[in-house]
Amino acid sequence: MRIWIAISIAGLLAACEPPRQQAAGPAPAPAEDVEIPAGPQPTHWTSDGNIGNGGGPVTEADLLAGAADPEKWLHYAGDYDSLRHSPVDDIHRGNVAQLQVVWAFPTGTRHQFEVSPTVYDGVMYVSSSDNRLFALDAVTGELFWRYDHPQPDDLRLCCGRVNRGVGISGDTVLMATLDAKLLAFHRLTGELLWETTLANYAHGFSATSMPMIVKDMAIIGIAGGEFGVRGFFDAYDVETGERRWRHYTVPAEGEPGVETWAGDSWKTGGAPAWTSGAYDVDRDILYWTTGNPAPDWNGDLRAGDNLYSNSLLAVDPDTGERLWHFQFTPHDVWDYDGNTHLFLTDVERGGETIPAILQPNRNGFFYILDRTDGTFLHATQYVEELNWATMGEDGRPIVNPLAKPAEQPDYRVCPSNLGGMNGAWAGAMNPDLGLVYVPSVEGCQLYQKGIVVFVQGQQFTGGSPITLDVDEGKAHGNVVAVDKNTGEVRWRYVDEHPMMAGALSTAGGLVFTGNQSGHALALDAETGEVLWRFRMGGGVRSQPVAYRVRGRSYVAIGSGNHTGFSRYAGGPTNLPEGGHLFVFALPE
């Protein structure tokens, strides 16, 4: 025992040493009294691996349990049902006002800080814009290891240099990158285990979402809907990086659905798969979603429904084969990506309990579908204003012809191309209350159609929105609480700016989120009343998480938005950029 203690103390001391640095390229060994020549900056700082609480590798059982154990937050949405509901209950309505900062950490990067931190074994894994990855002590914020991904100068991005978090399985942490790679790191040392290229970034591909771990695979989808890519999502062996399957979201010649694309327009059809999905463990069905057909705002050359853009896809996780689909916005000409948050839950309808999948879609409708076969059950309007369509009884929207893009547009179309909700942030659900929490943008636009020209690697939009409500100061935000059974709106928290941060529900009866004025917020889950507010400074674009270590509960929220994007949506333009993670707890 004494020897074991001695070894442990030595190990602990070693863990306190600064992380080792690894340079991006050859760097001369510095020596005292010698001028150090300018060279490549370090981009990788590893650890000796003596970190964490000895939890061992992340198992499939851990992943299946999801957030049931509050010491773990392993998935983007906490669990495979994708509810973003934490069992942390000792922070509640009665004491949330006492939350205080226990540590904070800077990312050193600009642009939107959209991470959903991953927590395991007392370690928090935080990715930032520009694909920095930090392993931090979840209790103290001490930096264990760090990786800064070297980026090309000519990335092809529509909407910011963002990343929404890392997946974890076994001893492997996985991050997708803006230059369309998937990287695997050892969770304890930070050493790069393997990397693979998903696609050629110069052609308009990028990857921003958290890889989703299913069985022994990492599922990752591609972005690039504004560049006329052919969308896809892939499954990779977590251990080796070998690709198991690829699911193209636009059918090729001879495949079912290609008839929904005029001529050869499928070749540049878009339908990116840029967010994480959900997984029905009992039925072994993986759900993934797709974004807009390309070009975004001129559909003249792609007549037809443009399958499988803006769709929910149910696939066999072992093969990637499609089981069924449901298309939310056929022949989209507004950029109403179907990539928003999915919730797997049972609903009560007509005296029956139905296994359902719910989605607050970017097009402003809240959908309730049967998740066994995709049957449409119901849809309601969750945004304040919606005029681009009414909902047909079969779930197919009936388009308002006035809302289509025009060369000289004068019809104010709602919602804006950002939504409603947007796949760049998460919703949450409280299963006890049966409420789904939807942070949303409330604003309308004009849609101007232009000439379509495809140049590989160049944005392929065919038109442009005009930010009418933003320019007139009308755009604002909601957190909408929607009844999961009926789709009815129970309450709205209204903010002066669009709500573009993720939401977290907790068993303490709270909804954590943030606003573009730079505040972390805790709302009463039953009423929407603001119970706690803390000024973090930067606009909030991250996905809050809650966790517990050695009996103490924490809430982590990041701040930091991109000024241009904030302005585009109707947020402040005077707040400085810069990501910063804040971790809160009750006083000890």
């Binding site: 000439i451 140049v455 690697g457 160049q458 333009t573």
Partner: protein, 126 residues
């Protein structure tokens, strides 16, 4: 690189007549000068800009963004018509702005229409 590439035939004469006052002495007239008075050319320039350049890049509304807003008299990579033509045709190194030379349906004429539209849609005397 030559400041003026291939020029629309109709543009040259009009440019000579209409645009001398706007030229810096010693510089050749800009083919965009004549197109600024050509409503058909300006409409096509607007449609090209809306469909190819605006979107999530240069935009139709003011405000900060990664690609420069082009209607506020601020010119990041040169303020002459020839500079705009070059930036569109050849791209801007180390940025996502790629070369559109040879990529637009009507070649350099479309680029000059873009230049004319960008110039005419912004404030006067930029």
């Amino acid at each position: 690189m030559s400041a003026v590439r291939r020029v629309p035939a109709t543009a040259l004469g009009l440019a000579t007549l209409c645009a001398l006052a706007a030229c810096t002495p010693g510089e050749p007239p800009s083919p965009a000068d004549a197109l600024r008075a050509d409503t058909v050319a300006l409409t096509r320039g607007e449609q090209l800009f809306t469909g190819v350049c605006a979107g999530y890049c240069h935009g139709l509304s003011p405000g900060p963004r990664d690609a420069p807003y082009l209607f506020d008299c601020t010119w990041v990579h040169g303020d002459r018509d020839a500079d705009l033509f070059r930036n569109i045709a050849d791209g801007v190194p180390e940025t996502p702005m790629i070369a559109f030379g040879g990529q637009l349906p009507e070649g350099d004429e479309d680029i000059w229409r873009l230049v004319a539209y960008i110039r005419s849609a912004g404030p006067e005397n930029c």
